[in-house]
Symmetry: C2
Subunit: 165 residues, 2 copies
């Protein structure tokens, strides 16, 4: 798997970021609709930070430190830093994992999802297995407004005849 | 100043806790009414962590690691870890300070307050100066429901004839 250009961080930098993420960051695996994908769905992985817009420069500092990520100003006065996609999220989480405490389970699940994603290309059943892991991540995150879960994907796959009813 | 028994933490432990506090902790200096005090008020300093009750064990881990603090279950399903008082907060913040980013200003102000508190014993004007620092901490914390500010204390001091009107 190609790893995106990402800075090598010091132990204290990683420990700090792990603490920050455990406190206020999110490690996410989200099932999203993608009509252009063979399986109609994609599992989108990301690590996200939010902060009030007037403290945006701290997020910029994180972005420069990590060496990847996208800043986005929302309409509600909040700025997000999003590290998105398997090539960024995998090396980042692998660095963070030993230092995470509250969100280590989420990190382990997302790492597992990313590492097994190549096996799902033509295997709807395997993809459903990974959707179940994504559901577990959402549950650990106390996520309330998840729109697509494993059950949604399963029903689509049955309708499309990709798996048996 | 007597320093309470507090564990010596490793660099990565401190960096982690600094990150966690920057993300979700609070560094607080609160002016509270204390009728038994000569000046009628006290500046209460604390470092606080909150977490949903089902993740209380992480707060217990922090408490054991730091070597001080009090756990308290609130009625709303949240547990707090409070590190309160100058003898605990000063050595803790001094360890954290170099690693804090978003809340380093709060830490510096609270350290300043603690170090100057002994000078306020019989000096209402000096106490008011420290109340102003406490106000600055509250502003940095986006604190909205602060009941007592420097102005409140100043008016009481004037009423009591401790300072000129």
């Amino acid at each position: 798997m190609k790893e995106q250009n990402m800075n090598i961080l010091t132990q204290t930098q990683i420990a700090y970021l792990a603490g920050f993420i455990d406190g206020d960051g999110s490690i996410i695996a989200q099932i999203v609709k993608r009509s252009d994908y063979i399986l109609n769905y994609q599992i989108k992985v990301s690590v996200n930070f939010i902060q009030r817009k007037e403290r945006k420069h701290f997020l910029l500092q994180f972005k420069n430190e990590v060496g990847t990520g996208t800043l986005r100003d929302r309409n509600d006065g909040i700025t997000e830093l999003n590290i998105v996609g398997i090539n960024s999220v995998l090396p980042f989480l692998k660095q963070l994992q030993p230092f995470l405490r509250l969100k280590r389970k989420q990190a382990n699940l997302v790492i597992q999802i990313i590492e097994q994603l190549p096996l799902t290309k033509n295997d709807p059943q395997k993809f459903l297995d990974l959707c179940k892991l994504a559901d577990q991540v959402a549950n650990l995150n106390d996520s309330k407004n998840r729109s697509i879960s494993t059950d949604t994907v399963k029903m689509t796959f049955q309708d499309l005849g990709l798996i048996k009813k």
